[in-house]
């Protein structure tokens, strides 16, 4: 089992590392690559857990993750980047350094919250949980500190990776595959929305005419 531990732990660490370095990135292309790496490792972790727990569900999850997250989504994201030529760096709401300090603080929070709370459970779960929680929080932090729509989406994606990481860590949790599929639906809508609404810059300024007319109408 120690191998299981260490491997799962290692993968979790890699995922967290990816999430953290996502926070430090300014260029979309690099972000997407990082995300791809994260997804790959996640699928690997899923397979590994499936093997460790002997769960078919988890293999399925890993497969879905591998195909869609690690291959299709990055491709489409790159497509968007090309289509809307978003090559230039993303503007940030706060200096990257600050956001990274915040990120460290968040990891601290996650550990503070989780580690003391799970004495009864297997240590694997505990540390996985701490890692997953930090990934989730880092993703949210990224969504709030980046102004670029795509960057925010990538933040959301990595949040969601954190969720799946937590899910596969749960011993014998039912519906894991279903959950990941449901989440994927969400993501799909997200990306499709970016396509449909032709979002260039932020969520909050859709590239659509007639916003002033809203103001005139009064709220």
């Amino acid at each position: 089992m120690s191998l299981t531990f260490s491997l799962a732990h290692l993968m979790g660490g890699v995922i967290l590392l990816a999430a953290f370095s996502l926070l430090s990135q300014r260029r979309l292309a690099a972000m997407i690559t990082l995300y791809q790496v994260q997804a790959l490792v996640l699928s690997a972790a899923a397979f590994w857990q499936g093997y460790a727990q002997g769960e078919v569900n988890l293999y399925l999850t890993g497969l879905i993750t591998l195909i869609i997250k690690a291959i299709i989504l990055p491709l489409s994201l790159r497509e968007i980047v090309l289509r809307f030529n978003l090559m230039r760096a993303v503007e940030t709401a706060m200096p990257v350094a600050v956001s990274m300090i915040l990120g460290v603080a968040l990891i601290g929070v996650a550990v503070l919250v989780v580690l003391p709370t799970t004495p009864g459970n297997v240590s694997l779960t505990r540390e996985d949980l701490a890692i997953a929680l930090s990934v989730v929080l880092l993703g949210l932090l990224m969504m709030t500190t980046r102004r670029g729509a795509l960057a925010q989406i990538i933040g959301f994606l990595s949040t969601e990776n954190g969720l799946v990481l937590a899910a596969i860590g749960m011993p014998g949790m039912p519906f894991v595959a279903e959950f990941s599929v449901a989440l994927l639906v969400l993501l799909a809508f997200l990306v499709v929305g970016v396509f449909l609404f032709r979002i260039r810059e932020h969520f909050d300024s859709l590239d659509l005419s007639g916003l002033e007319q809203i103001e005139r109408r009064g709220r």
Partner: protein
């Protein structure tokens, strides 16, 4: 047999037909028919709550019945709405629209009946996505913006809720071990004392934020006002208002787990402070936001925030009576609010157009000069929101306030103040809306029959509050006692 399954399944089955056949009017009628059957089935479910993943406990039954009723009346009002607005959207959009109606209705019922926390989560996600699509239907700039807001914030909420759900599962491991048992409300409720308390608390925080986003508790409410104001009227207001209940009931159930664990020193924190805090913030934010609103749908969206805040506050106060009050408040608010939006749509129709953006108070001003009955119905609903007698909400708010004084005396002061501010802000708009001289272009119109449904709603709310049938009272108080 599991009769609770039927309405959900029926709503789901109707989707492909509604999505492919018929003109908008036919679609609306079919939608109404389906909703009627669903309503009857929700009543039928009392005789076969069933068991398993999707089975209705008393709480689910009561709220399911109210949801079915509101859904039905909304669908009826929707017929008239479509008749007036058919030209605005293409046929395919209308079909999509009616599909969304059924999906939201079905998802709401599923969420109410779900015994499995995972299923509950899935239902909420379905409802969210459907509602988002519905909001974006008009394709106006503001509608798309609202839909996008709704989607992002709702998505975050869903994600957090999922994390919380998994944490609950994990927290239940010591008690129930791996497998489905650890995800069933019934089992969890029994095993709550033996669960991992601190992990459960963590889970509760995430669930509170996840479902709290759906229930539009401040500061998680960002999506609601715009979504209410910009989407196609009946769907995004009356109907999706029903999903607020699901979220709040989910929060209630989870807070019950937490409370039970806390009571038996399982290491969990008491859920009260969290809920009370969010509730108060929502009430005050509403009270201050109401006074500058010009668009009536946004205005009443904010008032929905207030009322889910009140309910959350009541759940936070805890104790069978307060929870009873909170549940009663939810029921009455559902009846009144859906009726209010139906009346509002009627009123906008009387003034020419029901398209988003034609709901500014200045458009509707002086309704009494256009149509007495509609003015009476709308005015009655708005007045009922303030919780002054003879409005039914008076009973529930009275229960809540009195319980607050007995259990959390300090919290009663801000609560009273907040309710005061909100009520005054609402009443301030009521006078001009009904009695002021009408704009010159408005001329008297004869009453539409669907307006009387609103009055039925109001009467029901009144009777439910002040002449509650003993059976129902026993049922609800038993539920409240079970959840406290």
């Amino acid at each position: 047999m599991n009769l609770a399954l039927l309405p959900v399944v029926l709503a789901g089955l109707s989707v492909p037909f509604l999505g492919t056949l018929g003109t908008p009017q036919q679609g609306a009628v079919a939608n109404a028919a389906v909703s009627l059957v669903v309503f009857l089935l929700t009543l039928l479910a009392f005789w076969g709550p069933g068991a398993g993943l999707l089975h209705a406990d008393e709480l689910g039954l009561v709220f399911g019945a109210v949801t079915g009723f509101a859904g039905f009346t909304t669908a009826v009002a929707n017929i008239f709405y479509v008749r007036g607005a058919a030209v605005r959207l293409g046929v395919r959009r209308w079909r999509l629209y009616h599909v969304m109606c059924q999906i939201i209705l079905g998802a709401t019922l599923a969420g109410l009946y779900a015994d499995n926390i995972g299923l509950l989560w899935a239902a909420m996600e379905a409802a969210t996505i459907a509602a988002t699509l519905a909001v974006s239907l008009p394709r106006t700039a503001s509608a798309l913006e609202a839909a996008w807001k709704y989607f992002i914030l709702g998505g975050i909420g869903i994600a957090l809720a999922l994390f919380g759900t998994m944490l609950v599962y994990l927290a239940a491991q010591p008690a129930l071990g791996p497998g489905l048992a650890a995800m069933s409300f019934a089992q969890l409720a029994n095993a709550a004392p033996r669960m991992d308390g601190s992990l459960l608390t963590l889970a509760f925080v995430f669930l509170l934020f996840g479902y709290g986003t759906k229930a539009a508790l401040a500061p998680l409410h960002g999506w609601l006002p715009d979504a209410y104001a910009e989407g196609p009227a009946p769907l995004t207001t009356s109907l999706s208002g029903l999903t607020l209940n699901v979220a709040l009931l989910a929060i209630l159930r989870f807070s019950h787990l937490l409370g039970a664990n806390h009571a038996s020193h399982g290491g969990a924190m008491a859920p009260g402070p969290f809920l009370i805090l969010l509730g108060l913030v929502s009430i005050f934010l509403t009270g201050f936001s109401l006074s500058r609103r010009r668009d009536s749908r946004r205005f009443f969206g904010f008032s929905s925030i207030e009322h889910s805040g009140v309910a959350a506050f009541a759940f936070g106060i805890g104790g069978p009576v307060a929870i009873f009050g909170g549940l009663l408040h939810l029921l009455l608010h559902t009846l009144i609010k859906s009726a209010l939006f139906q009346a509002l749509i009627r009123a906008a129709a009387l003034r020419g157009s029901t398209a988003p953006g034609h709901y500014a108070f200045s458009h509707l001003r002086g309704l009494a000069h256009t149509n007495k009955i509609t003015a009476l119905a709308l005015g009655g609903c708005i007045f009922a929101l303030t919780g002054l007698p003879p409005s039914g909400l008076f009973a529930s708010e009275f229960i809540i306030v009195s319980q607050t004084i007995q259990r959390e005396p300090l919290a009663s002061l801000p609560l009273g103040l907040g309710l005061l501010i909100c009520a005054v802000a609402i009443l301030r708009n009521l006078g001009p809306l009904i009695l002021a001289p009408a704009p010159h272009h408005a001329k008297p119109v004869k009453t539409a029959r669907s307006t009387y449904l609103v009055l039925v709603h109001l009467a029901l709310a009144f009777l439910l509050a002040f002449a509650m049938p003993p059976v129902l009272y026993g049922l609800l108080s038993a539920v409240a006692a079970g959840l406290s």
